[in-house]
Symmetry: C2
Subunit: 248 residues, 2 copies
Amino acid sequence: MAQERSLPSVVERMWGREPVTRRGPRPRLDLAKIAAAAIEIADAEGLAGVSMASVASRVGVAATALYRYVGSKEDLLTVMADSAAPLPPEPAGMPWRDYLALWTRAHRDVLLDHPWLLSVGRLVPPMGPRRLLWLDRALAALDGTGLDDGEKINVASALTGYALTEAALVHSVGGGDPQMEEAGITGAGDYGEVLAGVLDPETYPSLSAALRSGALGGAEGWVDDEDFSFGLDLLLDGVEALIRRRGA
Amino acid sequence: MAQERSLPSVVERMWGREPVTRRGPRPRLDLAKIAAAAIEIADAEGLAGVSMASVASRVGVAATALYRYVGSKEDLLTVMADSAAPLPPEPAGMPWRDYLALWTRAHRDVLLDHPWLLSVGRLVPPMGPRRLLWLDRALAALDGTGLDDGEKINVASALTGYALTEAALVHSVGGGDPQMEEAGITGAGDYGEVLAGVLDPETYPSLSAALRSGALGGAEGWVDDEDFSFGLDLLLDGVEALIRRRGA
DNA sequence: TTAAAACTATGAACGTCATACACAGTACGC
DNA sequence: GCGTACTGTGTATGACGTTCATAGTTTTAA
């Protein structure tokens, strides 16, 4: 009864719960090798290039051999989503605000390094060792602030969401998105320009005004670093206000 | 040269730029009908149930007929992602903070009503008429606050990200996620319990502590409404501080 | 030492799917 | 009415995920 609930079986493997019996031929692979190969392909060709066959051939086995390690392609994506994350930045005694800023930026950068992560659903909730390590570090940074654990988790959650949206924005509008490139949109400026051509100012009054004012129009568009910091500070200001309220 | 950049061609159609020639048989379909059918299927069976064949049969044509309206299945998903959004809530003269809270909540609810949206990449940047209407309303709510257009957009962006993460969390951990259900995880409590069983407290000190304290453990887990409001207020507090700084 | 048992990788086969293409039918413009 | 342009159909194809029986390999037990 306590054992009724468990981790999804692939996830168990990610935590080192590999099968115990040591009989028969030694496995030539392990999850890590498979994930690494899949990630390399995804980085190079996008998620579309990741097929059971392509991954298998990269690690030098037949396609069907992978099913000894993952139950399905969905499983493979789950594993990829966790192992694509590098180690989180080191706290090194920073104040919580500095660290969380660094953390969120690094989080976004991971997503930009592996844009296909944006199309893989399995990002929240984190279940694998890597992403949970990230979560742990964010919580640790908030130790001693007077926030309770639930609040800390909520803060981390909000920051994660922010990193995700910003990354998606930068990626699609900043180049690399196939559908956007088909249309010749290679920057926030293009995006705003194109949009301005379609929008009816009557039904979209505020948005049209924003476009006219060039808020998405120049080199400093929706997507540059200043804007990222801006939104991030927004969030951190909120956190800071909360901490003050808690009277740390 | 001004025309070199355009909207992705399906998106053009979403904006009513249907072809002009009126010769040959009258089309029996239009994008809206196709999208509606696809969305019904996705709501009922998930994204996996959406195939060109299944959508086509639901609208009563052969599979290949759809290619008169969308260039590819990717295109179909793009259309779905926009037309699944209902009209945004009406401002009705609310203060900006009340409206944005309502807006963000409604945003999250859309994602919970159509969980498959979480797996469709094409959410940001918004390109279709529906999602841009949502954006417009958020910007409108911030009129008169002294924020400039770029700042307004950043605020909307952060709120969108928050809605997205929260929805993903509620959905996967709160039921409906196939991989989670396979493992018997049907609530935040289960999630925390299962996690606690795998985590090594040495490498995940803060997270383990949070789990022990039951921050994800009870009926009031990661995912309930109180937590949503909490994170939302965090963000809105940040916005409010900014507005004060701007001296509205 | 040998035989059974447990496990691994393989190759062929199947069903599903997205998509391309040639064709047949239909409405409008002259 | 005739050509033209467009719509929907049927067939075909190639890629892909996945299943299964099989052959090969290592360990355990006799």
